[in-house]
């Protein structure tokens, strides 16, 4: 469980304003909101890439904002992160990318390390792309390779920044499901940034809505249609999903109406 307590962060102007939330273990915690609302800054603040101006962030009781750089670096071996643009190392092959955290931190034998990397790559269905370079594979494959790299050290916390940006709907769905499966399989605390209502409805278990740098709402996907949080209603209504529902609903009503006329 990650407890975020009253964090604020400003760059040129304020970006995060007094955000508090609880992110639960073994669940997919979704941070949703419009582009520019501060999701990425929130995630990078939680992991400590951005230093917060005020507030505390407790990982199962350990406050990362008070850790010394060295302790924080050590602690980070329990985290994995999937970046918006995958952030694979260009100069390394897919296998070498996944081997990298192991080479850096694992004291297992080379054979065990290799087996672990291949296991993770097979888990994300990339068993046959081991020797390709990131520039030689598709966006969806890059995302999967990045997931394999993020989970190779058995993290307790997994962060995914817009895991399906730039992907087609089917690939998006596969990536979302993969992340959810991994979360349940290994009991990870997973945090996912997204602005995609499809993802919310597909894999959202604990949903945090960020509006202009403030937490405006938190709940489950069942509660999302039933709230008086105005910005959240606008956000949900603007999504394609809602339009589709509305169209479906309208078609349904028309169908019913036709039946009645008959």
């Amino acid at each position: 469980m990650i407890e975020v307590k009253n964090i604020s962060k400003a760059f040129d102007g304020p970006v995060l304003k007094n955000v508090s939330t609880i992110l639960e273990t073994g669940k997919t915690n979704l941070i949703i909101g419009q582009s520019g609302s501060g999701k990425t800054v929130l995630m990078k603040s939680i992991v400590g890439i951005h230093k917060v101006d005020s507030g505390e962030i407790h990982y199962d009781g350990r406050d990362i904002t008070k850790m010394k750089r060295k302790d924080r670096n050590h602690f980070r071996r329990e985290m994995g992160m999937l970046f918006q643009g995958s952030a694979l190392f260009d100069s390394l092959t897919v296998l070498e990318n996944v081997m990298f955290p192991l080479e850096m931190f694992s004291y297992d034998s080379p054979k065990v390390r290799h087996e672990r990397a291949v296991f993770c790559l097979e888990r994300v269905n990339l068993g046959d792309a081991l020797d390709l370079y990131p520039s030689e594979i598709s966006g969806g494959m890059q995302k999967r390779a990045a997931i394999a790299r993020a989970i190779v050290l058995n993290p307790k916390y997994l962060f995914c920044d817009e895991p399906n940006s730039g992907l087609d709907p089917i690939t998006s769905l596969l990536i979302d499901r993969l992340i959810q499966e991994i979360t349940h399989e290994f009991n990870i605390t997973t945090i996912i940034n997204t602005h995609d209502m499809n993802s919310v409805m597909e894999i959202g278990e604990n949903i945090v809505f960020i509006n202009k740098g403030e937490k405006a709402w938190q709940g489950t996907k069942e509660q999302i249609f039933d709230t008086d949080c105005e910005p959240l209603n606008n956000f949900v209504f603007a999504s394609n999903l809602y339009k589709e529902l509305r169209v479906a609903h309208k078609m349904f009503l028309e169908g019913e109406a036709k039946k009645l006329i008959k």
Binding site: K44, V47, I49, R72, N73, H74, F75, R76, R77, M79, G80, M81, F83, Q84, G85, A87, L88, F89, D90, F100, P101, E103, M104, F105, L153, F159
Partner: protein, 246 residues
Amino acid sequence: MNAIEKVGSYAVLMKRTFGLPDRWRMFFRQFLDEIQKQGLDSLAITIIISVFIGAVITIQMVLNTSNPLLPDYATGLAVRDTLLLEFSSSILCLILAGKVGSSISSEIGTMRITEQIDALDIMGVNSANYLIFPKITAFMTIIPCLVIASMFFGILGGYSMAYFTDIITIHEYVYGIQFMFVPFYITYSVIKGIVFAFIIASIAAYYGYTVKGGSLEVGKASTDAVVNSSVIILLFNVMLTKLLLS
């Protein structure tokens, strides 16, 4: 950011850079890679430039020393000292600031904007140490070879003028380049080269590491890196020369 803040954040970055690597095995792999990229890949350009400059300096020196009062060996001596004292360290490093500096800053800058540096940080790797330390140490290690190669091929360039043309005899040239030879000039140039290598690699790394924005900013960072490291090289050139030669 003003100049003082920049110097401050440069110092902070260097403090993070100079530490023991997390894994020596990874360091040596990077180190050898950088020796190849910055050193061996710069050898060809170093040789070509040095041969031609050596030849040109020889022609010019023949003209400048055609005064009958000056001894025969004046040409060779002047060519040698120009190369040893100035060309093979300062000018060579200014040229390499363009080649090596821009490649370091654009490589690190691209890693910054594509979040590869964040990815290293989040793994708990000291990204400054992992990325920058091998680049700086490799360049400082290989620069003496480049400096000495430049001296050798510069003098060879001059020799080729004596060999292929009749502006100066081989005997005069060879006698000149040996006349009143001061071995410390080589040490002096190598010391300058090592200092300049540090300047080039660390400033380029700093500009790359602190890029914000997109590919346009990466391009601008590498231009800034080359311009700034060139100016600082010129400054240190004066200071080191005062310190070591007078």
